[in-house]
Every structure is written in structure tokens, then in C-alpha cells.
Subunit: 358 residues, 2 copies
């Protein structure tokens, strides 16, 4: 995964660097630390479109007044098995982490809990939050409204929907957990941007133009739309996720969604929702996790189609990447590393250091 | 929708006919009535692969001892926001209806509730159950394990997964509700069977053979596998749904799933799960439903791609079909109508009557 154009950094160093930058921008030290850890974890697990690469954008937004660095994140309404967290336009990582905490507490008593957010912001990869309840022998199911609309309704051209992701974290016993994290579009928009940066064409099926024809040039992405998975089905899923993660909590959905790539100032009123399920309420958590192990092994040992080298479980590759990152460091592109060096200079904070003995 | 090869029957007559047949087979009158109503509703909304067409199979299964006609459907375990219903191998329609009732009661207090089933059976179209909470100004989110495995893990050939559907019922105010009901495969297996019956080929993308090549002859369906929506993403969704609807409740999943098309005797131990969300817990239900109206109208009035006549919302076509069925009757194929006539003769029950003034 590393080549001449990447450098290696440790997850801990990366986390500290991000925290230091955000603290410089006005976040309290504790909050900056939480965001740093979650963003570094995103890079460590290979969700590099949602990790430190976002730091310059977050800083730009903070400086423009588009994010509240001292938010009063609080419960706006609650019952035994639900709550809505008002994020007061704070960093999404903080708002959603709080939502998960509240959901875990409630699920421990009620068995199941749904906690949504409003006045939140972009929070990085969905899987970060779906994973959190697993430490408590709980399942996490996560929905979010994306921060830019690139998806029209099926057959339409008005971009009323985003890539609204679904994520699930389902613990196993001896095997790695099953962790799903998927946009409801064929490709997340970050992948389109990555193709543009790499000077590559997109495969057919990612986007169409306004004639409904395949669009494969990522530099023309603004002229077209993303395609949902499974055609009208993915459109239905994106809509469902948006209603559950956005509308239900009084967060933005449809025309209200702010494109945070083109607007640093307007509060996004982002909505997310986490459903937490306590395994102990359903029976013996250990037995459940053992059943997941058995299923995982049946899947891994399935006969394979010609040319297929191995069967992957959702989340298995991220799991391996994070183990690799812990052993050898996180690969970061040399270009990004240089940009972060400039950023450090501008902020007068300590530079991000490379792993020394590669 | 009707042609020379269909006859029209009223939803009420169809419901009574099904109830009468099931009562003859030993179901208590009240239970037979519930199943009749739900099966007829499936036909009325156009889910005809899950309606009266299943009656002969259900009867065959009851006679073989594969379904318990006098089940003790009961709560096996519960907390404030969850329960597991043990269906005692009763008709799935009864077990899941009970699960929805319990979930609605709990959601009214806790705000949100998850109720799962085990020892249940095939229950017809997912949307029937996702719709139910809407009458209480609640959202329904439904997951089920399919009753035959036709889907291998991505890249594999062992059919460890089913078409595991996801359904959602989200109420609007003046507009029809948003009702999603989708298999996590490109085509539900019932559609493959329908193509075979009609003597038509399947489009590429529904199934592949054991070489990974497109399989388009529905008569060769047993030689191949269904394809998940969005490739590995749909595989991940089918797996997630199976773990949530099956494994979590102690119901069948993976190798444990009984193919109820080829086995009338073995209890299927089917699992389903409904999540019910009470709108009132989140704020003003009326305001939420109005927001859904606004979004629905924005979507309906979206600019359209060339050649697209109108934009549909999930569930909108079913909604229209049910209105048509109420006005004119439900179209049923003449072949099926004749089969039901034979069935009535065999059971010595009153024949299903056609709508008289077409």
C-alpha cells in the first residue's frame, strides 16, 4: 500500500497533530483530542477520504465562522429509548460521539435506543460510529445525511439527495467484527474527486450526464449525477436514510442540504442517527458472537467463482489495514504530507513526524 | 393492468376466500381472518408474488405438518424498548402482526422499539408490516430473512444468503406515504419464477452461472445465483439484514435457512424484525409529515432525464394499485383463478367470486 509517493506516520502522531491544529483554531483541548483520534482512526482503517485530508477544509470552515468551536452540545428531547442531540453547530465528530454515548447508556436499560442529531456537521466515515457500541457488546446501526447533494431521484435531474450512507457494526467473538459502511450511490463522491486528482477516468456506472449517458471524465463531474446502487432501489434507500437521519430530527434534507464543498459559512444542520442494540437483552451475548463467528467462517470458506482469490467480509479489509497501520504506520501521500507541513508552518505548531525506522 | 387473461375479484371477497380455506385447514377463525386480510392486501397493492398465489403452498405445508395451526405466539424476552416474539411455528402473518402490535405499544412509551421474531414463517411482502405503524403516526422499518438461499457471498458460490428484504413505511400528511420494499438482490426470486412461467428470458444482471457469466434463461435458474444490488454492497446489506432479522433473535441464518420451496416439513425458524419510531417523541408529528410532503413534491416536480415521463416515489405505484383495486377489483390471472376454483372444490368451500359489473 506504500510506494515512493507515500510516507508513513503513526496513528498516534497523526492524532496529536490534528488535535494540535484544531486546538490552535479554538477547540477546547479535550474536544480537539477526540476529533484528532477519530480522524486518525479514519486514515488508519483506510477511509482516507475522510481522515486528515479534510483538515484544511475543516480549518477553513472554522475560520469562516461555519463551525462553532465552543458548542453547547445537549439533549434537545428524550424518552427511555430515544433522544435528539442538538449539536449547536459543533464539529460532527463531537456531536455524533455524544449521540453514541447517550444511545449506549439508554440501550443498556431499554435494550435498544435510537439517538439522532441535528445542528451537527460532517463527522467522517460512518463506520467510526457504527463500531463504537461493539465495545459494549452492542450492535450499532448508523445513518447519515451527506453534506452535498449529488444524487437526483431515479429518472430525475434535480440533485435532491446525497450519498446518504448506512453503516453497521456487528460484533463477532474470535473473528473480526462485521462492519458495513456503504454509500447508497455506486461511488461515493470522494472517489470521483480522487479519480480527478489521479488523472484517471471513472468506470461506467458511477455517473451519468444530463442526457442520461455514462459520464466517465471526473473533470466533468459537475455536469452530471451519481448513480444509486441497484437503480431505483438505491434511490429509495438514499431517500429512506435521509428521512430517518435528517427529517426525523429536524435536520437538513432535500433542498435544505448545504453543499459544504462550496459554502464555508452557512450552518449545515447535518443530521445523523445511531441505533444501538444491546445483545444482552436478546439472550447470551457470547452465544450471539459465536453464531457470527460460525457464519463468518462459512462465508470465508465458500467455494469461489473462477478467478476469485478470496471472499471478504464487510469491514475485513479495514480491519487488516488498521492492523498494518499499527505495525508499520499509516501511508499518507507525499503531496498531502507536504501540505500538512505547510499548514503546520502557518499555524506555528509542531510538524507531523514520519515513522523513523521503516 | 387487466387483459383477456385476467379476472377481477374484490379485496374483500379474496380475503374471505383465503380465510375460509385456512379455517378449513385448522386455523382458528380469527387467525384465518387476519392472514386472509394480509394476503389479499398483498394482491391489492400489486405484490402478487406474495398474495393468494402462495395459498396452495401454505396449505401443502400445513398438511405436511410444517406449520403449527394452533400456535402459542408469545413474548420470549422483553425490555422497555425491545421484545423477541416466539412464533411457535405459526403462520408468519400472525407472528409478525403480533410483533408490530407489541412494538407500537412499546414505542408509544419508550419512543422507539425493536421487536424481533423467531420460530416464525414466511409472512408475505415486507411492506405490509412496515406500513402498519403509520396508522399510529409512527415510522416502521422492517427486516426479514428470506425463506430460501439464492445468494452467495460476493465472489463465492455457496448460497448462504437470501434476498433478505428491507422495508420502510414513512407517513406523509397530504401525500401518499413513502413506502420502500426492496430485496437486497437485483431481482427477487419470485420474479425469476414469474419469467419462467411467462416463457420469457431474464435481463442480464439478475443472475450469474457458476462461471460468473450472465444467466438469462429462467429455466436454468437452479444452476446459478442471484446477484446483489450494487455488487459487494448488496451482499453486505443482505448479510446485515440476516444478522439483524435472524441471528439476533435466535432465528435461522446462513446454512440453517430451510428452503421452503423444496421442504414442506422442517420448521423454518424464520426471523423478522420491526423497528417502530414514534414521531411524537421527536417533535410535532404533523410537522414531520408536512416536511415529508414538501420533499415528496420537490421530488415529483424534479426536472426529468430525456425519455422519462414521471418520477415515482417508493410505494407510490402500490398506493395507486390499491386504489385501482378498491375501485375496480384486483386483477388475477385466469390460470390462478381456475386453480383456486379447483382448490375450493377440493376443500368444499365457497368459490371465489368475480367482480360482476366490470
Amino acid at each position: 500500500m506504500t510506494n515512493s509517493k507515500t510516507v508513513l506516520v503513526s496513528e498516534e502522531a497523526l492524532s496529536r497533530f490534528i488535535a494540535s491544529a484544531l486546538q490552535h483554531e479554538g477547540l477546547p483541548a479535550g474536544d480537539a483530542k477526540i476529533v484528532g483520534e477519530l480522524m486518525a482512526q479514519a486514515d488508519a482503517q483506510g477511509s482516507d477520504g475522510h481522515g486528515v485530508i479534510r483538515l484544511p477544509q475543516y480549518i477553513r470552515r472554522i475560520r469562516a465562522g461555519g463551525i462553532n468551536v465552543r458548542p453547547n452540545i445537549h439533549i434537545a428531547t428524550e424518552r427511555a429509548a430515544m433522544a435528539v442531540i442538538d449539536g449547536d453547530n459543533g464539529m460532527g465528530h463531537l456531536v455524533v460521539s455524544r449521540a453514541v454515548e447517550v444511545a449506549v447508556e439508554k440501550a443498556r436499560v431499554a435494550g435498544v435506543a435510537w439517538v439522532g442529531t441535528r445542528a451537527s456537521n460532517h463527522a467522517g466515515p460512518a463506520s467510526l460510529y457504527a463500531r463504537m457500541p461493539m465495545a459494549h457488546d452492542m450492535i450499532g446501526l448508523y445513518f447519515a445525511v451527506g453534506n452535498a447533494n449529488h444524487l437526483p431521484p431515479w429518472g430525475g435531474m434535480d440533485m435532491l439527495l446525497s450519498t446518504n450512507p448506512i453503516a453497521a457494526g456487528i460484533p463477532a467473538d474470535k473473528e473480526p467484527p462485521v462492519v458495513l459502511d456503504m454509500a447508497t450511490t455506486v461511488a461515493a463522491y470522494g472517489k470521483v474527486k480522487a479519480k480527478a486528482k489521479q488523472g484517471e477516468q471513472m468506470p461506467e456506472g458511477w455517473m451519468i450526464d444530463r442526457q442520461g449517458k455514462p459520464l466517465t471524465d471526473p473533470l466533468r463531474a459537475e455536469e452530471g449525477f451519481l448513480l444509486p446502487i441497484g437503480g431505483y432501489k438505491g434511490y429509495g434507500l438514499a431517500l429512506m436514510v435521509g428521512l430517518l437521519a435528517g427529517t426525523l430530527q429536524g435536520a437538513a434534507m432535500g433542498k435544505e442540504v448545504v453543499d459544504f464543498n462550496h459554502d464555508d459559512v452557512t450552518p449545515t444542520n447535518t443530521g445523523q442517527a445511531i441505533l444501538v442494540i444491546d445483545l444482552a437483552a436478546f439472550g447470551d451475548a457470547k452465544m450471539f458472537k459465536h453464531s457470527v463467528d460460525v457464519l463468518v467462517r462459512d462465508i470465508k470458506s465458500s467455494a469461489r467463482l473462477p478467478g476469485v482469490e478470496q471472499i471478504w467480509l464487510p469491514g475485513e479489509q479495514s480491519h487488516q489495514r488498521r492492523a498494518d497501520a499499527a505495525a508499520h504506520g499509516i501511508p499518507i501521500s507525499a503531496v498531502l504530507f507536504a501540505e500538512l507541513g505547510e499548514l503546520a508552518k502557518g499555524l506555528a505548531i509542531e510538524k507531523l513526524s514520519q515513522v523513523t525506522n521503516q
